[in-house]
């Protein structure tokens, strides 16, 4: 099980990285990926209620299942335009 994880904007600052890999048993859904990243970077915890979740370039839910090779992204509400 290997998930590529991307962080953007303030979430990248909190994670201390823009990209990492999560390889672990017990990773079943998007929120479990976030839990695992938060264990490594506690500053992410304060974004738990506002973070937007994406799975393979599409918006996802906390319970969306992840599979080996998936790309998960965490980011704040968008401010482009």
């Amino acid at each position: 099980m290997s998930i590529r994880v991307l962080f953007f904007a303030s979430l990248a600052d909190a994670a201390g990285t823009r990209e990492r890999t999560v390889e672990a048993a017990g990773i079943t859904d998007v929120i479990s990926v976030f839990d695992r990243c938060t264990a490594d970077a506690p500053a992410l915890e304060s974004y738990r209620t506002s973070v937007l979740l994406a799975l393979n370039s599409e918006f996802a839910r906390p319970s969306s299942p992840v599979r080996d090779g998936d790309e998960v992204a965490f980011f704040p509400p968008v401010s482009g335009g």
Partner: protein, 136 residues
């Protein structure tokens, strides 16, 4: 035509390449870096994107605009990276036989971009910098 670019956006060129002889109206929106925000003087901006998803979402905005409004075509270009005051971060061009649908589609497009396209703006002031978060 939907794209992300790190170069200045040439609005006239986008308009001329979109326009066809059956179009009677073009409505253009340019989102511009302005010199103040949240009561602070802005020196410059940087835009960051989740590029693969942002491009997909720009296309989704355009496709939805075309299906929901009676327009012929729409082009959306969003710039990324460093931008000075007065430069356009976003350009939307809508071509249509009639003006009403063109105005509505253009407004819909910029409103929806600001909701669903994963791009973020960082404002640089004289005394610091802040990531701007949209309304969720």
């Amino acid at each position: 035509m939907f794209s992300l670019t790190r170069e200045p956006i040439d609005t006239a060129r986008i308009s001329r390449s979109l326009q066809q002889p059956e179009d009677g109206a073009l409505v253009v929106f340019e989102g511009i870096v302005r010199n103040h925000a949240r009561d602070k003087a802005v020196r410059y901006l940087e835009y960051e994107a989740y590029e693969s998803m942002a491009l997909k979402k720009l296309e989704e905005v355009g496709t939805t605009a075309r299906s929901r409004f009676d327009i012929r075509d729409i082009a959306i270009v969003h710039r990324l990276g460093h931008m000075e005051i007065g430069e356009a971060s976003t350009v939307i061009v809508v071509a249509s036989a009639h003006r009403g649908a063109a105005f509505e589609a253009c407004r819909f497009a910029i409103d929806t971009i600001k909701e669903i396209v994963p791009i973020w703006k960082k404002e640089f002031y004289t005394d610091g910098e802040v990531w701007i978060e949209g309304a969720r």
